[in-house]
Amino acid sequence: MRNGLSSINLVALTFGFAFLYLPIVLLVIYSFNASQLVTVWGGFSTRWYVSLWHNEQLLEAAWVTLRVGLISATLATALGTLGAITLVRMGRFRGRTLFSGMVYAPLVMPEVITGLSMLLLFVAVGLDRGFFTLMLAHVTFSMCFVAVVVQSRLVSFDRSLEEAAQDLGCPPVKTFFVVTLPIILPAIVSGWMLAFTLSIDDLVISQFTTGPGATTLPMRIYSSVRLGVKPEINAVCTILIAIVTTGVIIASIATKRAENERLRAERAAAAGR
């Protein structure tokens, strides 16, 4: 068995990566373009980053996105976790199948339909569209993702841990907070991050449910692209890519470290008996 790459594999790999990352690389390169025209290289410059700093509209949109993301992810995490606990722990109550179906429906529902139906609802109940409705919509669609993540952790949770806590004198509610919650916390945190990520890059549902004064960054970028791509947009996107990449790298290093730590400890324990 050869370990090296055959020429076919190498070609496939190159093409694969090119398809995935060439557009992004181009975008990053052009964000440093001195020229006003997007497709003409006019030399290296950071002027678009500077002008970005003075673009009130974009900054405002970024701030809205961040606030919606933080608030909706937090609410979605609380609701999604409760939903997951109900599904895993309440046994077979009446309407359980319906409940689980309804929790997971937004997962498969086309965004256009979710967005449109929420718009109709907001209009019907006379809710003024804006920051609040935007946030509600984001909670609705990201909650189910949190429920999925937390549920999968809860299913493998050893119930005897909770029984042991109660057996040692800990009442049920306290048991949840001192035993269950700390153990499922990693799942809840990744649920939150998923919800946050979904919220900050959502465009379709946001379009339907927002109103004046609450324009998110993806909406702002999309609308300005329709008027022709400005190099400023490239700069915004490059910053977003940088943030996301840094986050992913930090997360994977942390996971790797924790894993190594655990393996080392287990090996030490096995050797020491």
């Binding site: 029984e163 040692l168 800990c170 020491g272």
Partner: protein
Amino acid sequence: MALKPAQKALGPIRRSFAPWLDPSAVPLIRFENVVKRFGDFTAVDDVSLDIHEREFFALLGPSGCGKTTLMRMLAGFEAPTSGRITLAGKDLAGVPPYRRPVNMMFQSYALFPHMTVAQNIAFGLKQDGMPKPEMEARVTEMLRLVKLEPFASRKPHQLSGGQRQRVALARSLAKKPKVLLLDEPLGALDKKLREETQFELMDLQQDLGLTFLIVTHDQEEAMTVADRIAVMNHGKLVQVATPGEIYEQPNCRYVADFIGDINLFEGTVTSAQGGLVRLKSPEAGAEFVTASEAALQPGAEVALAVRPEKMRVSLEPPPAEATNPLRGEVWDIAYLGDWTVLLIKVEGTEKIVRVSRANVTRSEARPIGWDDKVFLWFAPDAGVLLKS
């Protein structure tokens, strides 16, 4: 690895320890006609059982026999469908698990993975609001008891299986409960460590003077550790007795078969008088005589149960006064080191009889080998007559 040796002063107490024989003794735990149903399934079927203070009591049975459910009802994780459970005279109905003076050691150990060994042991004490200095002293004491002092700040995943088992034990003992419940506590350990730990558990129970209730499917484990054993099957108690009684005087075919190996000769009674019962066993093609006080009518269907080590085997004909003679041919031999087990086919039948012989010498002039014709016999008091 051994814990400190048991105080030998307790020896005589243990020797004569039999509160269940004393009609004036008040049991610590009473199960009164306890029934537990899950839907259509009856897990525990009308169980009445008394367990005394300082007793090491074992619930023994195959998986699904209801032994764990019975224990979980005592811990408070299940409520009886009907019947009553009392602890020290107090009805436990409606008392939640976190208010019962019993602690349990779980089969999976159920150690809190996000806490250190010391925090795990301190968990129960913390719930009681024990002052910090006292709590620390108790944790240190418990760590010393299970010989885990150097591991106090480790997390459970940094421990070996045997060490985890010790942490679980220390945690369940930390609150000094009236009763310690052990749910298959040694199931995950290898054989050698398991045997060691069984003796440690016995010593610990004596030193601390606590009542232990152990659930196990391993009959050797139950016989090693327990003062008394309750054999369960299909949710019912089949026999409650000391290990010796369970082994030597099983009260039915089920117990005889479940505990150790046994030869069962099915047959019909031909006569019963003067403490001797004679029976005819077509499956072994023989008539047997056995000592029994049971009042039996001729024609009654019974089984004579004889343990393999109580059968005699020889290549030479037995002495003239030998009772219950049989002839057979060696079918199979299993050499186990301390014992040799012979499977012998009784002449003229399909009946296979199991005989075990202690290997008291290193060599034998002419050992019994495959296909040898042999003589079998056993004394009238070697067997037990089983009616059910």
